[in-house]
């Protein structure tokens, strides 16, 4: 594991330095705005500093992983004295966990220096946002591992962000739809429970992603779904997640018309996914 981190850090040294410089620059902007225009436009900037920085860093990290595939760096790393799982974990640590922890720490230090009274609020806000970003990153890592071509990775990531992730990161919607008061945002304990559930979910998704990474061979890089056994589950997932999201967002009373109407878009999405996953060739001919 140490070897994997050393190797990957050396390869990515320049990007890490640039990302850190960007973070420091944002910190300077945050402190300056806080001191100079405390009561004007940038009022909430300091409160958003941590999540903004780790959001940017995680996005840069995700782009960097795509770039690795483009440069065939993945291919070479598979031949090195690090396992596929170690490479996966290294990326999780360096591109997801470290950005969240470092930016939160920067945020805490800055708050301590400028507005010590807000300390608890900042820690709470960073923890909540950190857990949510960690969850989103786990889904991204899973998608990046399972999907082959780069444009499909991006498309799948956008689909996951728009369709199944957003309801999960907004637990209050579940309250509204089922009428059950599962999580109350005013109650710290409820927020903590929700975050712990999301954190546990993210860890499970990372574990599955890590396991899948050990089964990935370079020859499947052009396959939409790189694990053959998961081709049908992916199509079913697209249909079900899209359908459930549409149903959850339906405000009017549920009747058979709405049930069927909400199936149209998921069915179209499932057919499109099927076409990319199985690449069927339709033969049109009049020959007998």
């Amino acid at each position: 594991m140490k070897q994997a981190i050393r190797l990957y850090t050396t390869i990515k040294k320049n990007q890490f330095i640039l990302a850190l410089a960007l973070g420091v620059l944002l910190a300077v902007v945050s402190v300056t705005s806080n001191l100079l225009w405390k009561n004007i436009t940038m009022k909430h900037f300091s409160e958003q500093f941590g999540p903004v920085v780790f959001g940017i860093w995680i996005f840069v990290g995700a782009t960097s992983v795509l770039n690795d595939q483009l440069k065939h760096l993945d291919t070479w790393l598979f031949t090195q004295n690090i396992s596929r799982l170690q490479l996966f974990l290294t990326r999780v640590i360096l591109l997801i966990v470290a950005p969240i922890l470092i930016s939160s720490l920067m945020d805490i230090v800055l708050t301590l220096l400028t507005e010590p009274k807000k300390m608890i609020d900042i820690i709470s806000s960073d923890a909540t946002d950190g857990v949510q970003f960690f969850f989103i990153a786990s889904i991204m890592a899973f998608v990046y591992t399972l999907i082959g071509p780069i444009w499909m990775k991006i498309a799948a990531a956008i689909f996951m962000l728009v369709v199944p992730i957003s309801p999960v990161t907004q637990f209050e919607k579940i309250d509204n739809i089922f009428g059950v008061k599962l999580f109350e945002h005013n109650d710290n304990l409820q927020i903590l429970s929700a975050n712990l559930i999301i954190l546990a979910g993210a860890i499970i998704i990372f574990m599955i992603g890590g396991y899948l990474s050990t089964k990935i061979s370079v020859d499947t890089v052009d396959e939409a779904v790189r694990i053959r056994h998961l081709r049908w589950p992916v199509i079913i997932f697209v249909f079900v997640s899209m359908y459930l999201t549409l149903m959850l967002e339906t405000r009017s009373p549920i009747n058979s018309g709405i049930i069927f109407k909400n199936m149209i878009i998921p069915a179209i999405m499932a057919v499109i996914t099927f076409a990319f996953v199985f690449k069927p060739t339709f033969k049109l001919t009049w020959d007998k």
Partner: protein, 301 residues
């Protein structure tokens, strides 16, 4: 130390590319890998190196499982050609990375060779000419000091003078460090002067292993036949490489006494045995395919 490739099979998109591949690479050997385009040479290299996961079989380094023992992976150097990550970096940065990847990376020798061949240390490899890139690949491969090196078309793009120097470098490195080199190449003439033996990849498997000295039953003849028509048995038992009028150059894949007797008969005015090369053996190995192809061309004409 021996690298053992045992019953390796690999399917890509439901098509068998490698089937029951078996061979061994011993210390200090230079081995050639030849096969027609698309025969699976790059897939075989990728599978040995760990890029691709084999569907079946074992790759072992002595008694150890090479694929699953990642600690052994610095014992082998392979970089995919021509698309690889190296081209996005400068030799300086590559050195920094490979020093961590390969514990015995020879920094001094690397710097020396980069200077000797006048390669720009600060320039990204993708800005090099094709020949310079090929040369850099050889330098970086041997600088890794990995005991096993896989080279895919290493002499491609090199001019004659550089090619000679590179060939000399390969031989010197093998002698000095007892490195084992597996070279995939289409250039059989170059391989002849470089390798100890050649593996022929045909029908998804290693069809034969040969060395020029070791193939007593493959023979090459130049002969002049009597009459207007080429004696029929020649087509059936050999591969005609060239024909100008009554003069024929032919390679017999399996030269038996009966063929010798026929050649000594009245059908021929002149018969001379020629020295055999890897290219001749390669042609002889694909005699059937070449014959069918020639017939097709004749029919079309």
């Amino acid at each position: 130390m021996t690298l053992v490739i045992e019953n390796i099979s690999k399917k890509i998109q439901n098509k068998t590319v490698l089937h029951n591949i078996n061979f061994e690479l011993n210390e200090g050997e230079i081995v050639g890998l030849v096969g027609r385009n698309g025969a699976g040479k790059t897939t075989l290299f990728g599978t040995i190196a760990g890029e691709l996961l084999p569907d079946f079989g074992r790759i072992g380094l002595n008694e150890l499982d090479y694929i699953n023992t990642t600690a052994l992976h610095d014992q082998l150097f392979y970089v995919d050609m021509p698309d690889n990550w190296l081209k996005y970096y400068s030799p300086q940065k590559i050195k920094e990375i490979l020093k961590i990847a390969y514990k015995d990376f020879d920094e001094d020798w690397y710097d020396l060779e980069i200077t000797r061949f006048d390669l720009n240390n600060g320039k990204r490899i993708r800005n090099y000419s094709k020949g310079m890139r090929a040369l850099f690949m050889i330098i970086v491969s041997f600088a890794s000091r990995a005991p096993y090196i896989l080279l895919d078309e290493p002499l491609d793009g090199l001019d004659v003078l550089i090619r000679d120097q590179v060939k000399q470098m390969i031989v010197n490195q093998v002698i000095e460090h007892n490195t084992t080199v597996l070279i995939a190449s289409h250039n059989l003439v170059e391989l002849d002067t470089l390798v100890d033996r050649i593996l022929l990849l045909k029908n998804q498997t290693i069809d034969r292993t040969f060395s020029i000295e070791g193939n007593k039953n493959i023979k090459k003849y130049q002969l002049a036949f009597v009459g207007d028509k080429l004696p029929e048995f020649l087509r059936g038992s050999g591969t005609i490489i060239a024909q100008t009028g009554h003069i024929v150059t032919i390679v017999f894949n399996d030269f038996v006494e009966a063929i010798g007797i026929k050649l000594a008969g009245p059908d021929f005015k002149f018969v001379e045995e020629l020295p055999i090369s890897s290219e001749d053996i390669f042609r002889a190995s694909f005699a059937k395919e070449e014959h069918a192809w020639q017939q097709e061309l004749e029919e079309e004409a």
